[in-house]
């Protein structure tokens, strides 16, 4: 039990602002996070757009296809407004915490760039080459340039297993 407590504390301490790991135990904090108002505004906008486009759908009866889209949109708008107001009430975020700093630490940025690049090269280089590149670059970067040979081998082995299972067992034609 003591060990568990330790782990939990570690999970909480590893983050600049609260627990991201223990998501199931989200505890509201006194200060709002940078961009929290923004996300509430975005979800509100999504609800508004959802409602706007639902106006084009067949309506007029209680069983029309537009009933649920409208209902869901209204719920989104109402909840977003609530989230927004609640966030405004809380104190401003710490000045040291910038929006990009909070949202996009360096590692995440690199992985996101890799993901976008992956989407871009996938149709051109096909699955095997682009996935191998993604895994190797990802592993090497995340290990800060160490163990390059290990990354090359592990990527090759796991890719081989995946291709064997999907291509030859499940007859999936890879992209």
């Amino acid at each position: 039990m003591v060990k568990n407590m330790g782990l939990q504390a570690e999970g909480a301490g590893g983050e600049p602002s609260g627990t991201v790991k223990e998501l199931s135990k989200y505890v509201p904090e006194a200060r709002r996070k940078p961009g929290e108002l923004g996300i509430a505004a975005i979800t509100f906008l999504l609800g508004a757009l959802g409602y706007y486009f639902a106006l084009d759908m067949t309506s007029g009866e209680y069983s029309s296809p537009s009933v649920f889209p409208k209902l869901a949109s209204i719920v989104i708008m109402a909840c977003s407004a609530f989230n927004f107001i609640k966030a405004v009430w809380r104190e401003k975020p710490e000045a040291s915490l910038t929006l990009t700093g909070y949202l996009l630490p360096m590692d995440v940025v690199v992985v996101l760039v890799l993901l976008v690049a992956y989407c871009f090269i996938l149709p051109r280089l096909h699955f095997v080459a682009s996935s191998y590149a993604f895994m190797v670059i990802g592993m090497v970067y995340l290990q800060r340039g160490k163990n390059i040979v290990r990354a090359l081998i592990i990527s090759a082995v796991s890719l081989a297993v995946l291709v064997a299972v999907f291509r030859y067992l499940f007859l999936v034609i890879l992209p």
Binding site: L7, V20, P28, C79, M135, M139, V172
Partner: protein, 497 residues
């Protein structure tokens, strides 16, 4: 009776069938564990593959894959927080925190044991009460399916991650996204903007892989320095006392699973979610608070989705109506092999019924052995440093997504959902409710509209149905109870807080 016993013994007397069941379970565990590969896919592939075999062997293999596959989905949910299948979403809520505490072995061990138990409950229900349950399940009207979906939606309160309003926001976004595409009952195009790929709708498995898998990987990169948890693998098989302690919950949840599984069109996913919710509301002193690794939160969904296997066969074997997607494929297989699934099946080919019962029983025993043997190698996976495992997880998610319908566009969707999920998590919006909304949205929408059409689009007769039909009344009252039981007043009164 003696005749039935003889039929039951068919697989025991054939080495070939025995072996095929074991192979099926083993393959099923892996198929289930890989996100995107589903039992449904495996079964439909096996149908083509076993075309020239005799039916008994084909069925033995498919039963094995079915049982193994439902189990396999939970492994990845516990280890990586990526449910291998929607039926394992609830398991991940408690299983993943347990794995992070170094108790993955214990969690999977418990999951295996109760799974086997529940699977036998399902088989028992199938063999003694199939006609009764099947006829009762027919009585469920669209209104009742709507109520069941509402019950599922209430689960947002349990998995919303602390802030219920944010949970509802995410859930409603999920419902809205589930509306995209061609409405299956009217053919109306909703939110498609003339794009053919949007017309197919957003597959919730795609969304699930992105929202759980990729967003989990991205979140992990935020704390790069943190070591992967060391796993304690001393004792993986739960003791008798532990097993007995969870026995009442296991029985309750597996029966719930049998029943939900027997309803045409609902399967292990809905069963597991409802069972989790039910456990969270009724268990007085969980081993840990729910959401942080409560064993009860693994027992309930795992027993429910295993019970649903036997349940799904009930309407299929007695009425010829599939209980879920896998049994729908088995019906197809029976046609191809020249049998007539339907009410005549039991009369014309009674051996088939008892043979399936016996194949499922053998598969459950195989699951016990194969499941426990593979606990240690599986648990070792999370000890791999995340710098290495996470890129592999992302590629696994990519190929799994693609395999669902061989569509590159789905890969982009999946990655998009991963990125959205990552941002939402940072602001305390849990991704679980969004997936829940995506799964239950179509069920809510279609059944509400059918119920309304049944009442000729009149509000009063529509509402009246909730009170006059006994099944609807029972479900309505249950929902009222569920809502009341969430209030702190009730919880204090019952000593839950």
């Amino acid at each position: 009776m003696e005749q039935n016993l003889q039929y039951f013994l068919i697989p025991f007397l054939s080495w070939e069938m025995m072996m095929l069941i074991w192979v099926g379970v083993f393959a099923g565990i892996w198929v289930g564990a890989i996100p995107g590969l589903s039992v449904t896919m495996a079964a439909s592939l096996l149908i083509s593959f076993t075309f020239s075999w005799d039916l008994n062997s084909a069925l033995a293999l498919i039963c094995g894959v079915f049982v193994g596959g439902v189990y396999g989905g939970s492994i990845t949910a516990i280890l990586l927080n990526i449910p291998g299948a929607p039926a394992a979403i609830a398991t991940g809520i408690e299983g993943y925190p347990l794995a992070q505490r170094g108790e993955a072995g214990k969690a999977i061990g418990l999951c295996t044991t109760v799974s086997v138990f529940a699977s036998f409950v399902g088989i028992l229900a199938l063999s003694v009460a199939a006609p009764v349950i099947a006829n009762f399940s027919l009585k469920f009207s669209p209104r009742d399916f709507f109520l069941l979906a509402v019950m599922g939606i209430l689960l947002i309160g349990s998995i919303g991650g602390g802030d219920p309003i944010k949970g509802i926001t995410a859930g409603a976004i999920g419902v809205l996204l589930s509306m995209v595409g061609m409405d299956p009952s009217t053919g109306e195009l909703r939110y498609t903007f003339g794009n053919i790929y949007l017309m197919a709708g957003i597959s919730f498995v795609t969304a699930m892989i992105g929202l759980f898998g990729v967003s989990e990987a991205l979140t992990q990169f935020r704390n790069a320095g943190k070591k992967s948890p060391k796993q304690n693998l001393d004792r993986i098989i739960p003791s008798w006392t532990t097993f007995l302690k969870y026995l009442p919950l296991s029985i309750r949840s597996s029966l719930l699973g049998v029943f939900i599984g027997a309803l045409p069109g609902t399967g292990g996913d809905v069963a597991a979610l409802l069972a989790y919710d039910q456990a969270k509301r009724t268990v007085r002193h969980p081993s840990r608070p729910f959401g942080t690794g409560a064993y009860e939160g693994i027992v309930a969904p795992e027993t429910a989705n295993k019970g649903a296997i036997g349940g799904a066969f009930i309407p299929m074997l007695t009425l010829g109506i599939p209980g879920d997607a896998v049994t729908a494929i088995i019906i197809g297989a029976l046609y191809i092999h020249g049998l007539k699934p339907g009410p005549m099946l039991m009369i014309e080919t009674p051996h088939l019924f008892w043979m399936i019962v016996s194949c499922l029983s053998i598969a459950s025993v195989a699951l016990m052995v194969l499941g426990l043997v593979s606990v240690k190698p599986f648990a070792k996976i999370i000890e791999i440093p995340k710098e290495i495992i996470m890129p592999v997880v992302i590629i696994l998610s990519v190929i799994g997504t693609y395999a669902i319908q061989n569509s590159v566009v789905d890969i982009f969707y999946m990655i998009g959902f991963g990125i959205i999920g990552y941002f939402l998590r940072l602001y305390g919006y849990a991704t679980g409710p969004m997936v829940l909304g995506l799964i239950l949205g179509p069920m809510l929408d279609a059944n509400y509209r059918r119920a309304m059409q049944g009442a000729e689009n009149q509000i009063l007769p529509f509402l009246e149905g909730f009170l006059t039909n006994p099944i609807s009344l029972f479900l309505t009252l249950s929902i009222v109870f569920l809502i009341v039981s969430q209030t702190s007043f009730y919880r204090r009164w019952r000593g839950l807080e």
